[in-house]
């Protein structure tokens, strides 16, 4: 799961995430343990209760860096943008998928998805080897710091997905056991990913304290339909990011500086399947897809996710350059492909292949860089805020102009009125 956070706190009204300090502690040995306990249920026999327990020693190990551990920890806190955790109206969610209330709820796709998730393609694939520690020890200087940040952001995003899916799996158990079990199986995937990433952090003598993260988390409340839009996009954009990095590094192995990327081929398929499930959830609730409001919300969420990713990544060009990618080209490829995929379910999408779209994104990057510079200046808070006003106004103006660009009508052929005339 890839939940993106905005590059500046000023953008909170427009985006779905926020700045959060990294919850990091130096450790010498971290063991993520996954306890999968199958239990016999009334209608489905295999239930997964996936628990992540973090065990860590109290004393930090000798740091491989010349800086003291506390300094390293401080740097991470200052630079890291971690995704927000989400919650929703669980009662509404139960009503939406209650098979007693919704007698006509089409369960075909959910049954098929359940079989697909139970297959568990990657059950034995996230197994580490000695390459990880060796590669981590070779990474030095700024690139090392960049990789730590990448692992932390990714781990937090996966863990936030685990928490949301686990709770949904628990809450929907009675009203729709099939949908509930799929959520539980998705939380299994997310826990597996988060644990794998956190174990990667241990190669750098760090780990996210996921237990503390769970207690200290701040929730963003989203109505179910917004959860569907946002999470669908998060999963699909995650797929396109991971497969793009994987295929690029396969073609250019000289940039393969850390072995986690070799796992992205399997990883991204999990992300893609998760996105498919949200596609089925939306198709089962056509009211979220078939009116003018749905079109406006679809475009809004596309814009939020694409702009957030673009601005975030443009602040981290060193990471992409470190693996041999041009950040803006990479992002535009991911945005275009995600948009094409999204057009198979959302009733309207942005015209991201229009050159004007990229020009607007680049202008937003320039404005955002100025906002960052203001934030880092030595001016007093009042002066900083005054300097920010015209920049925020310019950013809002660009966002609005991008949102108002003529959209592309789209949607699943299963729901389309024009389907009988379609030629395949």
């Amino acid at each position: 799961m890839l939940l993106l956070s905005p590059p500046q706190p000023q953008l909170q009204p427009f985006f779905t995430s926020l700045h959060m300090a990294a919850l990091v502690k130096p450790i010498s040995n971290v063991t993520p343990k996954f306890v999968s306990s199958p239990r016999m249920g009334s209608s489905h026999s295999s239930k997964f209760s996936t628990i992540i327990r973090m065990s860590a020693t109290a004393t930090p190990p000798p740091s491989t860096s010349t800086k003291p551990a506390s300094s390293k920890k401080g740097n991470i806190k200052e630079t890291l943008l971690t995704p927000r955790f989400y919650t929703t109206d669980f009662d509404e969610m139960e009503t939406l998928f209650n098979t007693e209330i919704n007698k006509n709820l089409n369960q075909d796709e959910f049954e098929a998805l359940l079989q697909e998730f139970k297959t568990d393609y990657n059950q034995t694939h996230f197994v580490r080897n000695k390459e990880f520690k060796e590669a981590a020890d070779k990474l030095e200087g700024p690139l090392r710091q960049i990789f730590v940040e990448f692992l932390e952001r990714s781990c937090t995003a996966e863990f936030s997905g685990f928490l949301l899916y686990k709770e949904l799996g628990r809450r929907l158990k009675k009203t729709n056991p099939v949908v509930a079990e799929i959520f539980s199986l998705m939380s299994r995937d997310e826990a597996r990913h988060a644990g794998f990433l956190n174990k990667g952090l241990s190669d750098f003598n760090l780990a996210l304290d996921l237990g503390f993260l769970t207690k200290a988390r701040k929730y963003t409340f989203f109505k179910p339909k917004f959860i569907f839009y946002a999470t669908y996009l998060s999963e699909k954009i995650g797929y396109w990011r991971y497969i793009t990095i994987y295929r690029h590094l396969k073609a250019n192995p000289e940039f393969q500086c850390y072995p986690i990327f070799k796992y992205f081929e399997n990883w991204c398929q999990d992300e893609n399947r998760h996105g498919d499930f949200f596609s089925a959830l939306m198709k089962a609730q056509p009211q979220f897809l078939n009116d003018w409001k749905a079109k406006l919300w679809s475009r809004f969420f596309c814009l939020s996710v694409y702009v957030t990713m673009y601005l975030n990544d443009c602040q981290r060009t060193a990471f992409y350059e470190g693996i041999g990618l041009n950040t803006k080209e990479f992002d535009m490829h991911v945005i275009i492909e995600t948009n094409r995929t999204t057009a198979r379910i959302f009733p309207a999408v942005l015209d991201v292949e229009n050159p004007e779209f990229k020009r607007k994104l680049d202008r937003m990057v320039e404005i955002n860089e100025k906002l960052v510079a203001v934030g880092e200046s030595d001016d007093i808070a009042v002066v900083k805020n005054l300097k920010r006003i015209p920049l925020v106004a310019a950013l809002v103006s660009e966002l609005l102009a991008t949102y108002l660009m003529p959209p592309i009508e789209s949607g699943s052929v299963d729901l389309a009125e024009f389907e009988p005339q379609l030629v395949y």
Binding site: D108, A112, L113, Q115, N272, D276, L325, D414, Y424
Partner: protein
Amino acid sequence: MLGVATLTLGSSTTMVAQNHAQQHATTLASANGNRRHSVSNRTHSLPMSLVSPTNQSFTFLSSFKEPTHARPFTTAVASVDSDQLDSSDPPTKNEATKYYFLVANAKFMLDEEEHFQEQLFERLRLFGERNQEQDFWLVIEPKFLDKFSNITKRLKRPAVALVSTNGPWITFMKLRLDRVLSDCFEAESLEEALAFNPTDLKFEKPEKWVAPYPKYESGWWKPFLPPVQTEVKP
């Protein structure tokens, strides 16, 4: 309605189907959404000799509980009419097996949808790891399309079909690909089901390839084509 279970007996996995007291029609929504096929699914009862007293760990693939709504696909087991069989007899060779498929033009399926390639190889890898027999194939210009005039009139040619005995998986693939037509048919042999009209596929290289990686090599689909077969007489 058929329920399917996987019995874990040592290292082998046996697919079994249990017959409910009454038959249920299995419906498959066709590409138009209106026409439905009704098929009677019946199999012999579960041979109890399969259940070892020392190893009775079950992992159910789908619930035996009958839901209130219709469930078009709950099994990947071939549909056979087995009134004449007792529980220990294997099905005879000329019984019809049900095949599910989705179809679209070859350019979409094999050239544009790059994640389709990834999915098929992922599944092939899984089947290899678990010593399962492949139950899905790609058929270029399949002969069975002649039976589906409602599909052929809406299809650009050459066409490619993904065919499987696993109905739920085809439903999942339809969800993933979206821009495809799906249906099902019965055939008495794999050769008959996968019969094709020989076609030479050539895709032009895209004028503008902006991805930071090369395109998948043309011909990636060869491992999924039907085994070389003799012509099936109509």
